[in-house]
């Protein structure tokens, strides 16, 4: 586009970064929150008690509930309490149209738990943007490519990469924003590249089905068969013959010895001679993503029918890359590392967006500026979107947590109302940014977000049901709230920025 390679990369970085940065910020924020999706779900459903009962006992209670109420169902599912989510629930029917009943792990009786989208909303929004069908997957994929292009073009235009690695000049206005953008980008460059690329790898067969099209003539079933993902099936006639279900506890012990902590159990054709028991591990017993892995037992004899597959190097590589993105391995230390790296990624994107406006502020912002009216209007659009998509999205995210606690528990279609609260708040924030001067809009929204984050603990006090997981959410909210309050305070009373003629030498992000 421009004369030199560096200049065209700078142009691409600036404009692609601005236009796609707003949605990229939303994807990174929700992805960062999704690191703690189970914990957030637990917080959003305060009725779920903490339990100390062993998984074997809990499974026994779940089975006796199902025997009593759903003895003739074709499928049973049991979601066991785990370290991260102490809730127990049983389900019948298939995954899409199943009925889920939460149980009290301590007594095995049904538990009245409010419906809530839970932290799962952030997880789904992260890769679908809540768009219908799988459009969201393609939009997010395209945005991830823009992110990759932004990272590479950012490296190209950032010539003094090693020197500025150690450079931070605070309180210098535009220069400080640039330094922060550079430092957060360079310091975590491996993380930014890894998280973006592995995100694309998760859906690579949807994005680029070229290999299946060329080698398997587009027959994806043949491809999956070649991967050896066959499902264990029992002869259908056996499903008519009644038979007693085997005791679960020894199977659970056997599976746990082989797979590590167990997450859920599925039973096909219970109480018949065709019964199959699938025992699935929690994700994260190893780096490779183990979604869909299960040990399958005969439901009558308890014989092991199919073990988890040993992966060949190629599928293992793909699974490890997906696992690096899902961040389920390594326990809580690794989860915190991902969370903090994610926060820094968010800050990197946000600082780039702010930098765009800070650079142009002196030229376009004053009412008496000589820039033409159209350019001033576009500058204003960027300003409004910056506030609405950065602080506004954060308000919407924490607002969802508030909605989960404040909406009446018996509300019909409660989950839909929570989602409406999320998007409603986001829209309100955009409108608010549109009618307020930029600086005030920043201060007010950041302050609101700080209050909402810090106030999660207040909600916790009123609702009760305190345990270490919920307390963790509230304390983290408080810490983030303090950070946001500091940000609001810094925007409200900035130290005077020293503008030196030297600033004109900044070539790095020249548009």
């Amino acid at each position: 586009m421009k004369n030199t390679f560096t200049q065209s990369m700078a142009w691409l970085h600036t404009w692609a970064g601005l236009i796609f940065g707003w949605l990229l910020f939303a994807i990174f924020v929700t992805g960062t929150l999704a690191v703690f999706d189970k914990e957030l779900s637990h917080w959003m459903q305060p009725e779920i008690p903490a339990s100390t009962v062993s998984q074997a006992d809990v499974a026994k209670r779940a089975i006796s509930y199902l025997q009593q109420h759903q003895a003739n169902a074709g499928n049973w599912g049991i979601s066991l309490p785990t370290e991260r989510s102490p809730g127990l629930s049983v389900s019948t029917g298939d995954r899409r149209h199943g009925v889920v009943v939460p149980l009290d792990p301590n007594s095995g009786e049904p538990l009245a738990v409010r419906d809530s989208v839970g932290g799962n909303f952030f997880f789904r929004f992260h890769f679908t943007l809540d768009l219908p069908r799988n459009w969201g997957i393609f939009v997010v994929g395209a945005l991830a490519l823009v992110m990759l292009a932004g990272l590479i073009s950012g490296i190209v235009i950032h010539k003094k990469i090693f020197k500025e690695f150690f450079t931070f000049r605070p309180d210098k206005g535009q220069r400080s924003w640039l330094d922060f953008h550079n430092a957060s980008a360079v310091l975590l460059l491996p993380f930014h590249l890894m998280i973006t690329y592995t995100g694309l790898v998760i859906f690579m067969m949807i994005y680029i089905p070229a290999g299946v099209d060329a080698v398997f003539e587009g027959d994806s079933r043949a491809y999956f068969q070649a991967q050896g993902n066959a499902r264990v099936e029992q002869p259908r006639r056996l499903a008519k013959t009644p038979a007693d279900l085997v005791e679960l506890a020894p199977l659970l012990a056997q599976a746990e010895a082989r797979l590590g902590p167990i997450g859920s159990i599925g039973i096909r054709n219970p109480n018949t001679a065709a019964a199959l028991i699938e025992v699935r591990p929690v994700l994260g017993n190893r780096i490779a993503l183990t979604k869909g892995n299960a040990m399958v037992f005969d439901g009558v004899s308890g014989r092991l029918l199919s073990d988890v597959p040993e992966l060949r190097p190629a599928p293992l590589t793909q699974r490890v890359m997906a696992g690096l993105h899902f961040a389920q391995f390594g326990g809580y230390p690794m989860r915190w590392l991902y969370f903090i790296c994610g926060l820094i990624s968010c800050a990197m994107i946000a600082s780039g967006l702010v930098l765009f406006c800070v650079k142009r502020g002196r030229k376009y912002a004053p009412a008496d500026s000589r820039a033409d009216a159209a350019a001033r209007r576009w500058y204003r659009v960027a300003e409004v979107c910056n506030v609405g998509f950065i602080s506004g999205l954060m308000v919407a995210c924490v607002g969802l947590l508030w909605a989960s606690r404040l909406l009446p528990a018996e509300l019909a279609q409660r989950e839909a109302w929570e989602v409406r609260a999320f998007f409603g708040l986001w829209l309100l924030a955009l409108l608010h940014a549109g009618v307020r001067p930029a600086k005030q809009a920043w201060v007010e929204q950041l302050a609101l977000c700080a209050v909402l984050c810090g106030g999660l603990g207040v909600l916790g006090i009123f609702a009760g049901g305190v345990d270490h997981l919920r307390l963790g959410v509230e304390v983290t909210g408080l810490v983030l709230g303090i950070g946001l309050a500091l940000a609001a305070w810094r925007v409200a009373c900035p130290k005077p920025a020293v503008v030196k003629p030297r600033a004109a030498r900044t070539m790095e992000a020249k548009a």
Binding site: L148, I152, M204, A214, F216, Y223, P315, T317, Q318, M321
Partner: protein, 95 residues
């Protein structure tokens, strides 16, 4: 060059980046999946893993290249790559 309006030039480059880039990464994946000396199931995975490297390079190329026509080079390059990837299908189609 100077007669073409800016928005049109940007549109052309963006189209080259999005469509040319997709065609290029799709075709190179198909080509790799065909020629890699692995079992078909493995070749498909190994060929698809680097697809987004190709895509990113094509995007950068589209905006970096000097003249507007050369920005579409990845699209042109996709044709022979796709022919290698889909040669059995191509032969069948010709027969």
């Amino acid at each position: 060059m100077s007669e073409t309006p800016t928005w049109l030039r940007i549109l052309s480059r963006s189209g080259a980046a999005l469509l040319g880039g997709y065609a290029f990464s799709y075709a190179s994946t198909a080509c790799l999946a065909r020629i890699l000396p692995l079992s078909p199931a493995d070749a498909v995975i190994v060929a698809t893993l680097p697809a987004f490297v190709f895509y990113t390079l094509a995007i950068l190329w589209a905006f970096a290249s000097r003249d507007a026509l050369r920005a579409w080079a990845p699209l042109a390059l996709a044709v022979p790559l796709a022919l290698i990837g889909f040669w059995p299908q191509a032969l069948r189609w010709l027969a």
